[in-house]
């Protein structure tokens, strides 16, 4: 299965649904698809605003140290993330950062570990970015 999203201000993005802790409600967030964020073995999949981590967090995870564009030690939480078009729901680790660190007009970052669990790219359409299940 594959899903593609239009580029947002010429940047690749993914739309992810998150479950609000405690009430099962889902909220959609648009995240920068950033293969330059983290590494395949990094202990996190996403970078989200602190407010969203408070909303979606199911459990505290060990803090994570980031550097370069976002620098410092930040708390991390487990969240439930879904991409409905791919029939995918998974528990992942999100690093909680102040929203001022996040990409302009986006809700967060889908880091390399998250993207790397899919085939990813433009699949022949330079105006879009997509994910396909492995």
């Amino acid at each position: 299965m594959r899903i593609l999203w239009e580029l947002s201000r010429n940047r690749p993005v993914v739309e992810v649904q998150f479950m609000v802790a405690g009430n099962g409600q889902t909220v959609t967030r648009t995240l920068l698809a950033d293969t330059g964020a983290g590494a395949a073995n990094a202990p996190f999949h996403l970078v989200l605003a602190e407010e969203d981590c408070l909303l979606f967090g199911l459990c505290a995870a060990a803090p994570v140290q980031l550097s370069r564009a976002i620098s410092g030690a930040f708390p991390a939480v487990e969240v439930t993330a879904s991409i409905l078009a791919l029939s995918l729901t998974q528990h992942v680790i999100a690093v909680a950062v102040p929203s001022r660190h996040l990409p302009t007009n986006l809700h967060g970052i889908a880091a390399f570990r998250f993207l790397n669990s899919f085939h990813y790219g433009n699949f022949g359409d330079a105006t879009r970015f997509g994910l396909e299940t492995l």
Binding site: A21, G36, C59, A62, S67, E78, H91, P103, I109
Partner: protein
């Protein structure tokens, strides 16, 4: 829940010991596992985050209790975020 409670700080210390063991001892039972610590006790050692989380929450529903780590991950490393700004 972003600010760890005193109890979770203790859990994090236990988790750090497990993390060091998993990374240094090839025979560690925690190697490659997701581990949940609750009130200084290891309460879950599972192959997936989902399993460890469910086991933890079946014991303690309060999301401000307990902590989860990926036992073999390197939490001492700095992970680069290359750039986030765009027009």
């Amino acid at each position: 829940m972003l600010q760890l409670t005193e109890e979770q700080e203790h859990d994090l210390k236990v988790a750090a010991i497990i993390n060091r063991e998993a990374r240094s001892d090839p025979l560690s039972p925690y190697r490659g596992k997701w581990v949940a610590v609750l009130r200084d006790q290891v309460v879950a050692v599972d192959d997936t985050l989902t399993e460890a989380s469910h086991r933890l929450r079946s014991l303690e529903p309060d999301r401000n209790c307990g902590i989860i780590i990926e036992a073999s991950a390197d939490y001492e490393a700095e992970y680069e975020i290359w750039g986030v700004r765009g027009s």
